[in-house]
Symmetry: C2
Subunit: 175 residues, 2 copies
Amino acid sequence: MDTYPITIGNLTRRVPLHEPFPGVRLPLIDFLGDVGLAKALAEALVKHVPAETDVLVTAETSSIPLVHEMAALLGKPYVVVRKRRRPYMHDPLIQEVESLTLGANEVLWLDRRYVERLLNQKATLVIDVVASGGTMHALERLVHRAGAEVVARLAAFRQGTPKVEVVALEELPVL
Amino acid sequence: MDTYPITIGNLTRRVPLHEPFPGVRLPLIDFLGDVGLAKALAEALVKHVPAETDVLVTAETSSIPLVHEMAALLGKPYVVVRKRRRPYMHDPLIQEVESLTLGANEVLWLDRRYVERLLNQKATLVIDVVASGGTMHALERLVHRAGAEVVARLAAFRQGTPKVEVVALEELPVL
């Protein structure tokens, strides 16, 4: 299987290539299970978190270890927006995602407990890979609606040209 | 809102109560975003991981920070079984979950890359909260089918009487 090398700090990983359409190959970023890579990315990304940030916000699933490590380094809490309604959710805030890469529209769900925690907070949004920017855009809308202010939008990797401005560590090519 | 106190090591949290049916109240464990609690639970749980373990295995989503911290402490990798098919998955292994608590059957998905990583490995299964044991049971079936041996089943919290034997740190009451 062909692979693509990514280097973060002094750590290199060869990631597999995913072929969503014939002739289009994309490096497949999925570092769930790779503690070393999550820590290296977190160390690099926290340098871009504004000091005024009260809380980090992400969407499940693959970004969770990254944001968890960033929160640990910064000593700040984080909020994980869900992509499925959970049985215990009470009066959740919901937000539709328009996403080209997923083919179908997704919905973000945030339990009211977390909505209340975001009120009047300064939030930095973090996603592992930003492509169309649809998830980042929906996350920003949801966080605004919860009464928080977005002070930064960060991604570990950028693939293509997202429709929102995002600070990313690395560019991923289309091969 | 009524809360229930949980204590892990020298850390106490008051968690909200969830009322799935009138008159039945359950402590709601959801420590996504709480770095301190994930670390405290991981420190307590790694003592129950057999030394022969090659890999930790969990199912998304809420258990991820816990297993990530355990993997970091142990210097071992982990695998996250998904509950939704992802677009990049190639020839995934799938396994149905029979779960009373969720009301509907769920399906576990594991991309072939990770199936291959589990072959001939000794796996410790970890879940944040075990209730009916349905997810744990399905996880074990899936890991077996991938060619791995399950050497332990661990949970941070046990609620009720699961149909599989699980080592848990704490019992959660039905109030």
